[in-house]
Subunit: 384 residues, 2 copies
């Protein structure tokens, strides 16, 4: 096991009927900005629950944060924050809304051009406190300090991480996910699954507990994922899915082990260039990364094959190939195609990605930093 | 899954050579009291590392905290805290030292008779901040807000839980455990294992991720425990053991599931009456609880038998009995006897326990609160 430090002070308030408790978490004299997305919360009752819980508070609203939260839109919220002296952000929505709120929270306190936080990794020294009402199990943003923001004009999608933007609390009520379209549930399953794989499918460092915890999330996603699509209002299934997605990226399974993140870095470029859903890019890239890096990930992929998919027979290469095929099948089974061609894209459409990564200082990727331009090209070819 | 809320802000700093980092965690102007046990830290180099890291700080010392930290001794430390205006406690040792520090931290700020915190569950409103350098993987106290304190004169052993006594940080350096006697390692393994069982061996509530995470810890303890006794200086094994013990009781596996704690409550009385090691009491009581409550715990014990011990054949009753026998064997294999008779105790020596529990308001115990006096008597008889 490698040395590590771990701290995660986010308070999770989980279960049906819990939205009402936000009034206990937000300071009484707070000037709150509710941040949300396309307006689904006004149709599914979540907005009403939030409004009713916040009666007596000073509340403003900012809606319209798109998936892949867009810099120019978030900056309008930053202006609103400054104008109304907002000192608490309540993100109500999925990962895009939470990520957007994190950027708003940091940008409102930032001296200089806030895009530098993302493009130049300018340090974040403070942020407006954030609370979350999560409505989509997927990104894990509700229990970490990461945020990904897009810049349409620049065709860029960049991330930043700061302890200052970790939510103070996150309410996870599985019933808020009942009305989600299947595409978003499928995307969430792929997103959570890939988060685990980025922290698991690397090389062994004798960390059996972390390995088993990662496998626990993968197996549970494989079990509960399809059920959650079949029976959208099965509370238990949605609860399990929601908790898996949070546990997949709250830092618990990454302690003391190497991490990859090649799939995410290539995936971000795919979204920046062609507007694919985040999870669609992961479903395309992850199987390709596992295939091209199978030799370097040999031992962990054998373990993955046996423990997650129950594959015990055949040659090493065979078992690994079967496990990758099963991964692909699983993503397809929850409605997320795993080939570029399914999105009407060819190698020509993605061939700029290796150089785009190099421009961002990512000439080498992966747990061993050995995924360089020729390897990324191989991965992209395997995505077709 | 049941509704829950979860928050754990303890910072974990894990790995070899990490003790030096305590100087970054403790405020520069702090008046620090180092709290420790019988003095082993002065023989194994830990004291030197701590002293060297704290050069320039204002430091006092209080040694001699015994296992099963004793109220009258802790109150001497409280006097020292007041006398020297101590505003930071650094616990250096195992669970008893950490638990002791937690009580000192709360008692020093408490108005009234501090024993009331334990006996009358008097509320704790504040506490002196605590840091930890852990030297014994066992209790999990390094990452939670619980503390157990003994009162020799009253023959009592009581606990309290407060968010105010959660450590601000805990350094876990596995090399500090190399010099531990086998008895303490064996005890630690039994303690961590039993913590998981208290949160796992109840009844199913459709919480597959929590179940698998609990099983992950159990399986890893079964694998790594014996190795840690055989090769005391195998860093990886000790690291895995240490992380298992912390994860066993940091709140992560208890979210949304019922909990038992019958074994601990009976075990505390055994220690209060006869001075047995905490883990010895758990090794005696846990198998008896599982046996007597096998019907109520039926489904989870079958799952435990199959997933943790790989027992797949035989009748339900048979598989459960085998799993309980395996649990007993495992405890014995790490050097902790599992029968009262091995400690030269008979039923007569423990027959006051049911009434002692009732006196403390624990007339009913367990995940269904159906373990009443006659059942406790049955459990004690099964302990012989």
């Amino acid at each position: 096991m490698e040395n590590f430090s771990f701290v995660n002070p986010v308070k999770i308030i989980f279960g049906k009927g819990q939205i009402v408790s936000i009034s206990d978490e937000i300071p009484e004299d707070a000037r709150v900005l509710i941040v949300y997305g396309g307006g689904s919360i006004k149709k599914n009752g979540v907005y009403e629950q939030v409004s009713s819980a916040l009666q007596g508070f000073t509340v403003y609203e900012f809606g319209g944060i798109p998936s892949n939260p867009e810099y120019s839109i978030l900056m309008k919220a930053v202006a609103l924050v400054k104008q109304h002296k907002i000192n608490y952000l309540l993100a109500v929505g999925g990962g895009s809304v939470v990520d957007g709120a994190k950027f708003i929270a940091a940008a409102a306190k930032f001296v200089g051009e806030p895009w530098d936080i993302l493009e130049k990794k300018a340090p974040v020294d403070s942020a407006i406190p954030i609370g979350v009402v999560l409505t989509l199990p997927a990104t894990g943003s509700e229990m970490n300090g990461g945020s990904v923001v897009s810049h349409a004009a620049k065709h860029q999608k960049r991330f930043f991480v700061s302890p200052y933007v970790m939510p103070q609390f996150s309410v996870l009520d599985p019933t808020t996910t009942y009305s989600l379209p299947p595409r978003q549930i499928g995307n969430g399953i792929v997103d959570a699954f890939t988060h685990v794989m980025e922290q698991y499918a690397t090389y062994p460092v004798n960390a059996p507990l972390q390995d088993r915890m990662a496998e626990s999330i993968l197996i549970t996603l494989i079990e509960e994922g399809p059920k959650s699509l079949k029976n959208p209002t099965d509370y238990e299934v949605r609860a399990n899915l929601m908790w898996c997605a949070t546990m997949a990226l709250n830092g618990m399974i990454e302690v003391g082990v190497p991490q990859d993140w090649t799939t995410h870095m290539i995936g971000h470029e795919l979204t920046a260039l062609h507007g694919l859903d985040h999870a669609q890019t992961l479903a395309i890239v992850l199987p390709a990364v596992l295939q091209i890096k199978a030799k370097q990930k040999h031992e962990k992929l054998l373990q993955y094959a046996e423990r997650v998919w129950g594959i015990k027979n055949g040659s090493d290469e065979n078992r690994i190939a079967t496990a990758i095929a099963k991964t692909r099948e699983f993503f397809e089974s929850v409605g997320v195609p795993t080939h570029l061609s399914a999105y009407k894209l060819s190698f020509k459409d993605v061939e700029s990605i290796p150089d785009r990564l190099i421009e961002q200082g990512m000439a080498q990727l992966g747990e061993r930093q050995d995924t360089n331009k020729p390897v990324v090209i191989d991965i992209l070819k395997a995505c077709i």
